[in-house]
């Protein structure tokens, strides 16, 4: 029994080491990117010629924390400007480049008809998925709810059934029918190809959602990293972002 466990642990350790060492040579660009960029970046990565782009998608907050713990991707693309700005101020990354905007929406399963506006989310018994406070989707959502005022904000927060670590978690709970509604970006709804439906927020509640990317200091592929970010602003990356429903960066 013990031998079995030890063997399994050693084997998985060896596998992890082997995986970590793979692809050391050649031009490989490591990109840590917000979960909401998954579809757009995957498409862009297939067309990016300067290097082979390898992506690590996750909550922007977790990716930023990994970088602070000395994980060193070449590019960091976040769903806000705060996290790249913070890394820049700490001397860990170059100047952030805003490259896209997004809109926050209420996402509901396509067959859900009882929720039509943000007010419906305050009804007792409605279940809602939001992002945890540290991930950008979660802090944008809290911004929206604060704009609603105290009573409604409190009623909606009472209906929160789960606080997910990234948008992928929120979308998963929605498509599985585990919750009635969730706050996501409009691009996440588009990416589900009809499984989810977006309900627009009143424009006075809409937060400004700007994505920014930065080249990490200490990257061994600075030229390719800069080319990757440049392509996001004008080029194949920008095209992929527009196709996925992202807006152009603010002027």
């Amino acid at each position: 029994m013990r031998a079995w466990f030890l063997g399994a642990a050693l084997a998985s350790g060896a596998l992890a080491v082997a995986a970590g060492c793979g692809g050391g040579g050649g031009s490989e660009l490591t990109v840590s990117a917000a979960s909401s960029l998954t579809a757009a970046f995957t498409r862009y990565g297939a067309e990016f010629r300067a290097a082979h782009a390898r992506f690590s998608f996750g909550g922007s907050d977790v990716l930023a924390a990994q970088i602070e713990q000395r994980a060193r991707p070449d590019v960091f693309a976040a769903a806000n400007t705060d996290y790249p700005e913070e890394l820049h101020n700490r001397g860990l990354a170059g100047r952030p480049v805003p490259f896209a905007t997004n809109r926050l929406v209420i996402a509901v399963p396509a067959d859900q008809t009882s929720i039509r506006s943000v007010r419906d989310l305050a009804r007792p018994g409605v279940t809602i998925a939001i992002g945890s406070a540290s991930v950008p989707i979660g802090s944008y959502t809290r911004q929206v709810l604060l704009g609603l005022g105290g009573a409604e904000n409190a009623a909606i927060m009472r209906n929160v059934a789960t606080q997910e670590p990234d948008v992928a978690g929120i979308v998963g709970k929605l498509t599985q029918g585990a919750v009635d509604a969730g706050f996501t970006y409009v691009t996440d709804v588009d990416a589900t190809q009809g499984q989810l439906r977006a309900i627009d927020l009143p424009s006075r509640l809409q937060p400004s959602v700007t994505y920014a990317a930065t080249v990490l200091n200490g990257s061994n592929h600075r030229a390719q990293a800069r080319a990757f970010i440049h392509g996001l602003v004008t080029g194949a990356g920008a095209t992929a972002l527009r196709q996925a429903g992202f807006g152009p960066p603010p002027k």
Binding site: G13, D61, V62, A133, S134, V160, A161, P165, Q176, G177
Partner: protein, 267 residues
């Protein structure tokens, strides 16, 4: 002679490598967390809620595992029947499932859109995003650890002891309770400790099936992940608390339950 010595050196080297690899991360958690931080992390109400929830849900799932798992393992250990090895393989399958697969599987089976979702809904049972869902996820991933150990423990009990009990007029049930379980108690306890440890550490299946809400579904591993982004030292401190609790559990069970002479006797 020197060949055998070289072989021993290889064995020692392998064990040293394994020991270092397996203990360095745990040592690092405690080196980075002073005792003061460890204690102050317990002042945080979010951490306390997570600890309370973790202890409650793991205790509930362990109770289910022991009550159902003990007789099930006894059957597997003492009876031979067709498809026995198939049943054993199926019961052990969750051992090798990645937690994410367990989470997806639970959603596909017991989620609102799952194959049994309608049935549960009709019965008024909601598991997804509820504390009950956490218990279901923990039970799913931890049960095989107990079943596997319990079966081995019952198999090691001397058959003649069981037969003697029966010839002396004890019923099957009485034999299980009064003879088999006491004789196998060390192995059962080891299985309990392993299953408890696995349940305490469960992350992926819980997040996918039960979500994360403070006090309802946010167990300690989920609280640690939540802090990782915002407060690394606090995440480390809470990790240290979890390691300490799991370690203490393992040790307590090992010390309290000593192997009985019958279990060690050659069968």
């Amino acid at each position: 002679m020197s060949g055998s010595r070289r072989f021993t050196a290889v064995l020692v080297g392998a064990l040293a490598l394994a020991l270092t690899f397996l203990t360095v991360p745990i040592v690092a958690i405690f080196l980075d967390t002073g005792p003061a931080r460890l204690v102050s992390s317990l002042d945080d109400p979010v951490a306390v809620d997570a600890l309370r929830l973790s202890l409650e849900t793991t205790a509930a799932s362990l109770a289910i595992i022991v009550v159902v798992g003990t007789p099930a393992a006894y059957l597997l250990a003492t009876r031979s029947f067709r498809a026995r090895s198939l049943v054993i393989t199926l019961v052990e399958l969750p051992l090798v499932l990645p937690p994410a697969v367990a989470g997806i599987g639970l959603l596909a089976a017991l989620g609102p859109n799952g194959i049994l979702g309608g049935l549960l809904d009709d019965a008024g049972v909601v598991l997804v995003l509820q504390t009950a869902g956490v218990i279901v996820a923990l039970t799913f991933v931890a049960a095989p650890f107990f079943l596997r150990q319990a079966q081995a423990a019952f198999e090691a009990v001397d058959r003649r002891t069981l037969e003697a009990s029966r010839t002396l007029g004890s019923g099957e049930g009485r034999t299980l309770l009064r003879v088999a379980i006491p004789a196998a108690r060390a192995g059962l306890a080891a299985g309990l400790a392993l299953a408890w440890g696995r349940a305490l550490g469960e992350f992926g299946a819980t997040l996918m099936f039960a979500g994360s809400v403070r006090g309802v579904t946010q167990t300690v591993p989920l609280a640690i992940y939540d802090r990782f982004a915002t407060d690394f030292p606090a995440a480390l401190a809470l990790s240290a608390v979890l390691v300490a609790i799991s370690g203490a559990l393992l040790l307590t069970i090992k010390l309290v339950v000593r192997p009985s002479p019958t279990a060690d006797a050659p069968g």
